[in-house]
């Protein structure tokens, strides 16, 4: 039997046969669904002067054109702090190019598309701000940094004075561009009203978040709103909050009194559902001649919208990653006329660690020190920002095992010293870190008379393997093979679970599922021990165990019976229990993070400036890995995400109109097959008894962190050119190469 921890995905068969159904693929009970297509602004700031829908309404099949003039009024005050309250067709303001201004609703997709084209918009234009500030002038301090949970700036020691006095200094600006998540599944919402009840199929990373938002907007009790999202075609943060198109679909369905399906086009996904904001980061490092850090200063500015607030927390890793007595971090915002940014895979760390770990590489060169040695010299044995011990930290082993697998010692330190024929070869490394998150969650487990079990939890599986981990937990605790466990998720009719974000799903839901399993198991063992007809009658439940679908005596495993036999005799259809779990005191006692080390080999074409990643080794310590197969996949995927960030991905905005000029998958370049070489991931063993009952820290985001810095550092090693402005495209390298 395959050990359960390397089991294939339980939803694999559905996904390879086309049987997995995503939000846009459901049909309402009566086949009367209407199609909605959004109409978006073509200016970046102003007001809608008038909307002419006469020609659009002539399109055969058009049912309605919804604009701010006829849209249902909604309550903007109760949808929750995390929910964008704009643009929802409640007024005539235009705040960015690509803003929703109308919705064409028709009996076919083709008719809705055509009608959307025929909506005529006339504007009164205002002056738009389209370029973010490059320095603190004109920026502002975030008002709700990290949801108001901490201040946007921190200082310990005397950072400025220590930096001024440092023997060796690095003082550089690093820039990261706007990036878009681009999940393969476009955001889709199918909304259906049944009286004052609302049923919504939605591509969602947070069904309960969507429920809260829609209940708030429409003034309904939360129980009147049901969100269903059994399969999600990737999210990476973009399906985390309740973006306006979800609400617009429900408003459209209300307006026309029929179910409405609204699917964003790929182009619309560049202005409708957030993005990783552009950042300008000023990093200053001071060190003594031996390489001991004496000062770390990290000042970040991130782009924000003209409405709402999202702040990219670029400096948080700089507070704790290295041992240093003098550290200062600030975060500021620069408002422009673009949509609201949002969380994107490893928000804060992906951008911030690129800057910090590039600067550390620059410091290693300035000191003439090996980059790993510099990091070991400044290794933090405790979190000096929070002044707490780490619940676990196995970063040293990540450096060692990663370096050994990568054969780091073959690296010749001098830049431009390694070649393969005419290609310049470079080796680079960087540290990865990501915090451990956890939220309250609930679950229900039901052991049925036919010897199968169902586990229910309103979490989401966005490709992360949640279905599989849920089934595994039940299999482990009830002694059932995976094909006898059914996992149900992605539905607000199930017990409540948090957003699939912050790498927290496993850490949050597993303890709840475990508790429900243990309760079912205890009831079952007690039933067997108390049943005179059971072969286990009279034994202490403590002496009993479960395995292979049976209840048995631990000391004499042949003595026992199947679940089916017990439940049939007892006349029970099922044994069911609830479980719930929430974080305890651990966060007060410990600093909890996962860590890793990234190693990259690049080849740079000296004539073309093209960078190809040839090899990548990532070593990660993230506590218990629940499933080695799906875990490895997630780590590889995180690294690939970082490769795109490093080399190709950037959303380009026309500085005159504010329009995204590369809003297609042919122009916004995510990695494709040919861009991705051999990737080796090492799961560094780590036991953490403090972090949560399962000791699992989460791995969804960690492998993205540090990848871009490792590549940038490898490019420097290959070429002698330090690129401090992502992505590292040929145009940034080519001039310096032709020497």
């Amino acid at each position: 039997m395959i050990p359960i921890t390397t089991a294939s995905r339980v939803d694999g068969r559905l996904k390879v046969t086309g049987g997995a159904r995503y939000a846009a693929e459901f049909a309402p009970a009566q086949d009367n669904v209407l199609h909605a297509v959004l109409v978006q602004s073509t200016i970046a700031a102003g007001r809608v002067a008038s909307i002419d829908t006469a020609r659009a309404k002539q399109v055969p099949g058009v049912v309605a054109i919804m604009t701010h003039e006829n849209a249902p009024r909604i309550d903007l005050g109760k949808a929750g702090d995390m929910t964008p309250g704009f643009p929802l067709l409640q007024d005539d303001r235009v705040m960015f190019n690509g803003q929703h201004l109308a919705v064409a609703i028709a009996t076919s997709f083709e008719a809705a598309q055509q009608a959307a084209q025929l909506v005529e918009l006339h504007y009164n234009r205002d002056e738009a701000t389209l370029l973010m500030s490059d320095n603190p002038t004109g920026t502002s301090v975030p008002q709700r940094f990290r949801n108001g949970m901490r201040p946007p700036a921190s200082t310990r020691g005397t950072p400025q004075a220590s930096f001024d006095a440092a023997a060796v200094k690095i003082d550089q600006i690093y820039r990261t561009p706007i990036e878009h998540h681009n999940p393969m599944e476009p955001h889709a919402t199918l909304a259906e009203w049944q009286g004052d009840r609302l049923l919504v199929h939605n591509a969602s990373q947070s069904v309960f978040g969507n429920r809260k938002a829609l209940a708030g907007f429409f003034g309904l009790p939360e129980d009147n709103v049901r969100i269903v999202s059994p399969f999600v075609g990737g999210g990476f943060g973009s399906k985390g909050v309740s973006w306006p198109h979800i609400t617009l679909a429900a408003m459209a369905a209300k307006l026309v009194g029929q179910p409405v399906k609204l699917v964003l086009t790929r182009r619309q996904m560049f202005t409708s559902n957030g993005y990783r904001p552009k950042t300008v980061q000023h990093v200053r490092l001071g060190a003594d001649r031996d390489g001991r850090l004496t000062a770390v200063l990290h000042d970040g500015i991130s782009q924000n919208s003209a409405y709402g607030e999202f702040s990219e927390p670029v400096g948080l890793a700089s507070e704790m990653l290295y041992s240093c007595p003098n550290v200062a971090v600030t975060h500021r915002l620069s408002k422009v006329n673009q949509g609201l940014p949002t969380f994107m895979r490893a928000p804060g760390e992906a951008s911030g660690v690129y800057a910090l770990e590039s600067a550390m590489d620059e410091l290693a060169w300035a000191l003439g020190m090996d980059p790993i040695e510099l990091r070991l010299k400044n290794y933090a044995d405790r979190d000096e920002h929070e002044d707490k011990p780490f619940s676990s930290k196995t970063l040293r082993a990540c450096y060692e095992q990663g370096a050994a697998a990568f054969d780091w010692k073959r690296r010749v330190a001098q830049p431009r010293s390694m070649r393969d024929g005419r290609l310049l070869i470079g080796l680079g490394m960087a540290t990865a870190t990501y915090p451990v998150n956890r939220s309250e969650a609930a679950a229900k487990v039901r052991l049925q008379a036919d010897g199968t079990a169902i586990v229910r939890c309103g979490s989401q599986d966005i490709g992360t393997g949640t279905y599989t981990v849920m089934a595994q937990l039940v299999g482990e605790h009830l002694g059932l093979p995976l094909d006898r466990v059914r996992a149900e998720l992605g539905d607000t009719a199930l017990p409540q679970a948090p957003v699939s974000g912050g790498s927290q799903s496993v850490a949050s839901i597993s303890p709840a599922i475990r508790e429900a399993c243990l309760a079912v198991r205890a009831q079952t063992l007690q039933l067997a021990a108390g049943d005179p007809a059971s072969p286990l009658h009279g034994l202490d439940p403590e002496e009993l165990d479960v395995a292979d679908g049976r209840i048995l005596q631990s000391a004499e495993k042949s003595r026992g019976e199947t679940y089916q036999a017990l439940l049939a005799r007892q006349g029970r259809a099922a044994i069911e229990a609830d479980g719930s779990a929430k974080p305890g005191e651990e966060k007060q006692k410990f600093s909890m993070h996962s860590f890793g080390a990234q190693f990259v080999e690049v080849a740079v074409d000296p004539d073309l400036g093209e960078v190809r990643v040839r090899r990548h080794v990532g070593a990660f310590a993230a506590g218990r890995i629940m499933n080695a197969k799906t875990g490895r996949s997630q780590m590889i995927g995180g690294i690939v995400f970082g490769m795109g960030m490093a080399l190709t991905e950037a959303t380009e905005v026309d500085p005159r109109s504010g329009r995204v000029t590369n809003a297609t998958m042919a122009d916004y370049l995510v990695p494709v097959h040919l861009d991705v070489p051999e990737i080796e991931v090492i799961m560094v063993a780590e036991q953490d008894d403090a972090v949560n009952p399962l000791g699992a820290k989460g791995i969804g985001e960690l492998p993205t962190v540090g990848t871009a810095a490792a590549i940038a550092n490898a490019v420097y090693h290959a070429t002698g050119q330090r690129i401090r402005d992502l992505p590292i495209r040929p145009d940034k390298l080519i001039d310096g190469l032709s020497i």
């Binding site: 046969t17 693929e25 073509t42 055509q114 005529e120 393969m184 182009r267 590889i636 995927g637 051999e678």
Partner: protein, 197 residues
């Protein structure tokens, strides 16, 4: 019967012929994008019969309907995925007369008498196609949304008589984007299914 893919030029010409040029001009809704004084046209319905996964299917179609939308919205075969609707991501890859095409770039009304195979028609009853089994074994997906396109593209590739070393597979699968980054596992799965792993 001519077997060929549509070019972008043909697509534009055919769409324009039905009066729908504005419908593919991108979003925005500005008046300049619309032909002056043209009343919204009434599309005529086209009847075609295609052989879909081995079965004759008669369809009545708006001439602007892509094969992708015909599959998903009319036939409820939602295994073929819409990722970009402009031929850039490969999620909608199906086999048209045995060759892989992006279903979003093919007008369904022009497929009379043609043979289409989708992910739903790949397995032999309950017996998965070797590619499908290999994708599960090698975990060649995460969210699963690009997966039908990846598998159908690989099924097309296996029939193209190309070398199937790792580099060639990467090259010839590069039209199928996987944002979850399952590429190394997909390559392993295709290698195995091709008998070369």
């Amino acid at each position: 019967m001519t077997i060929r893919n549509f070019t972008r030029r043909e697509f534009l010409r055919d769409t324009a012929a039905t009066g729908g040029a504005a419908a593919i001009a991108g979003s925005g809704g500005k008046a300049w994008a619309v032909p002056a004084a043209a009343d919204p046209p009434v599309p005529t319905q086209h009847r075609v019969t295609i052989r879909l996964n081995g079965t004759e299917r008669a369809l009545q179609l708006d001439p602007r309907t892509s094969l992708l939308d015909a599959l998903r919205e009319q036939l409820y075969l939602t295994g073929t995925k819409k990722g970009c609707d402009m031929g850039a991501c490969g999620a909608c890859t199906v086999l048209l007369d045995g060759k892989r095409v992006n279903a979003c770039l093919v007008l369904a009304a022009r497929l009379d008498g043609r043979e289409v195979k989708t992910i739903e028609g790949l397995a032999d009853g309950d017996q998965l196609h070797p590619l499908q089994a290999a994708f599960i074994e090698h975990d060649g997906f995460q969210c699963g949304y690009c997966t039908p396109g990846q598998i159908m593209s690989a099924a097309g590739l296996l029939n193209e008589g190309r070398p199937l070393d790792e580099h060639s597979i990467r090259e010839w699968m590069s039209g199928n984007i996987c944002r979850c980054g399952a590429y190394p596992n997909i390559v392993s799965a295709i290698r195995q299914a091709s008998g070369r792993a």
